[in-house]
């Protein structure tokens, strides 16, 4: 029987299938903690199982559970084949090792092995590439380039790291270019610098020396000087990544939950895409509780969450403790009733699962429930 609650699950699975049959590159975007990695893997699995495509899913999250669900022992830098069990398609999964990817890039782009060796040993380089979240944004996108070269894969799905602001992701290559092209880099790399640039750097150096001491400062100076050597090739690379992100082969899937903070983050992301004359291809509202339904907004534009629980439903329950618990969920639902972004794209609701993800069937059922 169809109840109001069944409608909570839903959205446009046909639009998802059209996309999975044709897309070349999917960038999974959204705030942290909304399930981007899992949804990305579920999309990849569906493309391989139902659309016979050769898919690689690139994750940045060392999600042990996901690896287990995919039936592989561990996700590594090397793409591992996931046994999908049906169809002609193939699914590979790989995990980006942030530190190793940066080291590889440096080795590849350094003018000579000695520069690479010194840069890899530099203390500031090591902290930047291992801890600086902006460097992680960039390196995740850099994988887009290498994986889409050649015809090994039909579809590349890239998961992205949890940025503090989801929109930062879109700017990562631009910021990397800005960093290399900036006066700051030129200021700090004297060697061939004019006396004028040395003058300009002076306030920073004085401040830095007082603040940090001279040992650390020399680490900084060495880093900027060495990094400047990589500039020409690196800027070219970052520009290629930027072009790739903007071209028509790359589409964006935005993932949210019904949590107001996550919805706000997605709104910013979608606005950012629209400023770039792009729109997400699909909006996934993940972990949709059975108290909420997804309904189409005014004139078919956007979607809103509708509360599917009311006093009448609470009144159906006799037991006091159960009624109180359901009342609590009703409050939760009333808090979550907000428009889910004015995205002009298909929306898919993925219901909140009360079971742990343990295998491929579980992963596949996430989307098929729609």
């Amino acid at each position: 029987m169809t109840t109001g609650l069944d409608a909570a699950v839903g959205g446009d699975i046909a639009a998802v299938d059209r996309a999975l049959a044709e897309d070349r590159i999917i960038v999974m975007a959204g705030p942290g903690g909304v399930g981007k990695t899992t949804i990305g893997a579920a999309l990849g699995l569906r493309a391989a199982q139902l659309h016979d495509r050769r898919v690689v899913v690139v994750t940045v999250d060392p999600a042990r559970r996901l690896a287990e669900a995919l039936g592989v022992a561990r996700l590594t830098e090397e793409a591992v084949l996931v046994p999908v069990g049906r169809g002609e398609g193939r699914l590979w999964a790989l995990m980006v090792d942030m530190a190793k990817s940066w080291d590889d890039l440096v080795i590849q782009h350094a003018p000579d092995p000695e520069t690479a060796r010194r840069l890899l040993a530099n203390g500031l380089y090591r902290t930047l590439t291992r801890r600086f979240i902006q460097s992680h944004d960039y390196i995740a996108l850099d994988h887009l380039l290498s994986l889409t070269e050649g015809d090994r894969y039909d579809l590349v799905i890239v998961d992205t790291p949890p940025s503090s602001h989801a929109i930062d992701l879109l700017d990562a290559p631009g910021r990397m270019i800005e960093f290399f092209e900036s006066r700051l880099l030129r200021w700090l790399t004297f060697g061939a610098g004019s006396s004028l640039s040395t003058m300009a750097a002076k306030p920073f150096l004085l401040l830095a020396e007082r603040l940090l001491g001279s040992d650390f400062l020399s680490d900084i100076m060495e880093f900027f000087t060495l990094f400047a050597e990589l500039r020409p090739t690196f800027v070219k690379r970052a520009e290629a990544v930027e072009r790739r992100l903007a071209d028509d082969e790359t589409v964006y899937v935005v993932v949210s939950t019904t949590d107001p903070v996550a919805v706000g983050g997605c709104q910013g992301l979608i606005d950012g895409l629209q400023q770039r004359r792009r729109s997400p291809e699909l909006l996934v509202v993940n972990r949709l509780p059975p108290t909420l339904g997804l309904v189409e907004g005014v004139a078919g534009r956007g979607h809103v969450l509708r509360r599917l629980i009311d006093d009448e439903m609470v009144a159906l329950i006799d037991d006091r403790s159960l009624a109180a618990a359901v009342r609590q969920l009703a409050d939760q639902a009333s808090q979550a009733v907000l428009p889910v972004v004015g995205a002009d794209c298909p929306v898919l609701g993925v219901p909140l699962s009360t079971e742990d993800l343990t295998d491929l069937d579980g992963l596949a059922s996430l989307l098929s429930a729609g």
């Binding site: 603040l211 108290t291 329950i317 037991d319």
Partner: protein, 267 residues
Amino acid sequence: MVAALAAEAAAEGRTVLAVDAVGNGGLDRVVAGSGLAGRFETLRLTTRESLDQYLKIYLKLPIGPSRLAPLARIFDYVSAAAPGVREILTIGKVGHEVRTGAWDDVIVDGPATGHVVELLNAPRSMAELVPTGPLASQTGWLSEVLSAPSSGVVLVTTAEELPVTETTELLERLTTETATAVTGLIVNKLPVPVGPDGRAEADRLASTGSVAGPVAALACHRDRTAEAQWPRIDAFGLPAVVALEELNDPVGAIRRALSGGSAGRRP
């Protein structure tokens, strides 16, 4: 959480400073949204502001370097990369406020799991990284403030598997790696417990295809998930305060729990 703690302390007549160490303005929004504005002071620390304050207090620089745009951008890169710079500026400002003696309580809304260890260890890391210079000489008294009996860490978790696992790991790290004592635990956003009769009724509703079936099942699932965490939470061996999830009044729920209302005990 910090807003609720600060409000309770202020209600007892204490002078309170609540510090937003993440600097994203979340604390101010909660304070404004829960009608607590004016009950206690708040301080929002962004890295740039912290640097300006730091330089003003300790190095007696007349103007904040963040006023000079290019310098501020360089600082953003370096502070994000250099181990401990951001942390030392934040904890240094907090320590300074403690040392002024102007407050009965300084309550800090800390960064996410993991980073709080770096924050508390910042004086030590800084002393290792920069053995000489003004930063190094400032770190001694700061370590004393952080390890004083009047300083402590209160852990906040929800009764869900991943948060409890993260809290377990954090407790272990705080105990072994920092000199600051862990003094308490708050279990927040607890789902309403469902009794055996309620569970039986939920099963009945599901099997008869009632419209209330899925919601009742979800309510039971949330309760069972939370219940499964209690042995692990008890194993922390910390004095715990338990607050039910009340989305219409989250700060009030925690305040009631703190002041020993019925929600303050484990149901």
